[in-house]
Symmetry: C2
Subunit: 350 residues, 2 copies
Amino acid sequence: MSHSTDQTPERPTGHAVPTSADVARLAGVSRATVSYVLNNTSAVRISEPTRRRVREAAEELGYVPHAAARSLRAGHSRMVLLPSAHIPVGPLYSQFFNDLQWELRRLDYTVVQYGSVGLKPDEAARAWAELRPVAVVSLGEVELTEQAVELLKRSGARAVITLGTQQVPGTHSLAMDQGRIGEVATAHLIESGRRRIGVVVPEEPGLGMFSRPRLEGARRAAESAGTGAAAGATVVPLPLRYDEESADELAGRWRELGLDAVFAYNDEYAMLLMRALQDAGISVPEETAVVGADDLLLGRLLRPRLSTVHIDMVLGRELAELVDQAVRDADTPPRSRRLLDSRVVRRESS
Amino acid sequence: MSHSTDQTPERPTGHAVPTSADVARLAGVSRATVSYVLNNTSAVRISEPTRRRVREAAEELGYVPHAAARSLRAGHSRMVLLPSAHIPVGPLYSQFFNDLQWELRRLDYTVVQYGSVGLKPDEAARAWAELRPVAVVSLGEVELTEQAVELLKRSGARAVITLGTQQVPGTHSLAMDQGRIGEVATAHLIESGRRRIGVVVPEEPGLGMFSRPRLEGARRAAESAGTGAAAGATVVPLPLRYDEESADELAGRWRELGLDAVFAYNDEYAMLLMRALQDAGISVPEETAVVGADDLLLGRLLRPRLSTVHIDMVLGRELAELVDQAVRDADTPPRSRRLLDSRVVRRESS
């Protein structure tokens, strides 16, 4: 079922939406003056009493400038679109996104999030393009293609910024370096004398963009430890759903697998797996060391206290300034930079 | 620092945004026909070959209809604005919001979320109004005032729907009945023979809209148990920050407080407080019963397993249909309905 706009009944009259023409009439000025005053244009000299009169008239009528009309006149918008995350990204990303929105607003952008659940790259690009954003900052919810980026650019987007590992032509890519998280966790386990290291790979859809590079990072750490005393470390991928049944099943064949350590993807999966291991009689850290990631409070509440990877994210302000620069100068060469930094916090579980 | 739109440098030429006129020219039809075809208007009969020609021309040029231009012509938009939550609302609400967005898109609305962190009611209403949404569905991130609602309506919003306990004139209010959560938890504790019941009140900003009604619900349960064998139950509010220091401090004076049970706001605060109580030598549930809320997996991973309040939320589809109805008939009388249903899941901690 789908309603086109034409089928929507007309708005009842008697409650007309005030326009800038109404404000101009009430204030006794031109529409251009109303526009200059309400859009804070400093290029045009307008006296303070006139500005006040316009503001008071707008207030009295309840007039608000229309972002879309303004962008139609200007030929571009000030809207930055963030495809919103439908995956459980955790408090770390929530905070980062709050900061980013705040900083973009400070730079006078309008920030909207667009839920992009279940959209294919071209559908997503089309849906976003309908809103005519001047920039799109994608965490990686949708795997952008070159055509999708081209469509966005043709619709007026000056900057498409991707936070992820993929390198799509025409975008500014900020590498999240998820691989580093798996790498430092695994290097820590190897240094502590562990040799058979499991790496949890969540089976929940949408987490692959995080879990794949973490597994690769773990493999890199095992390979680079290939000489000397640490030689012979191996990495074993462990698919796991976020439920007790899946964790119990994995714990039940733990000794068969012959593992002496596990990097458990993040603190929540680590909590789930550690409980299953303990219930199966496997002692942590004696028989198996466990390391999570994200450094959540819950890890400190577990017994033994959970070792974890602490992740520092780039400031929202830095990213907001990159967006602004890319919008103002569409010729800013696409480039990559690191968005994350990671270090191990060793507690009792490893 | 603030850039007005006028100061933004011009888009480099040679990459012009295609318009519906370009599509019309290439397809050899009128602009009106382009609009009818691309907006899926079924009211006008257009032959299939013509439709195909228009779609192919749009594809070739990379043309996407402009939502804002369409809404300017139609006099209203199809945009539903959801102020986005800056508070950690948890997986329950994330899922609900995903469902709501999906269902609204199925009804042909464009759904955008707008981060409204730190905005006052009038600032928020103004920022939202600039986007000219046809409906606003507010979880309660911003305490809407009557003036704010009036401003939104004057800017073309046909429906303002609030999910919360506040009753603002001109809105459709969907009561979340947070109070019921505290009520069923406390009634359960009283029925189990507990008499001095602490209720955790998180000190984190933004949670008051959840915690205040939960505390009131707990008090109602204690009052209505005022006769018979259950007489004399009392409720003691317990301010708590989500950190170990605050929890240890509270656990340290637990016996002074003389409490034999606690409703800990939700499962995460319950996990925090239960750890602090156990570390302070207070046995759960023997000396103190603990009940959380949200029925998260982590509660089942604790020892003792955490009792909790399971919350059933209304389907996203029901709410989407209410939004659609309110948009199509602005005279739909404002009304309240229940959004949540709550029941206790008893495990080992109570």
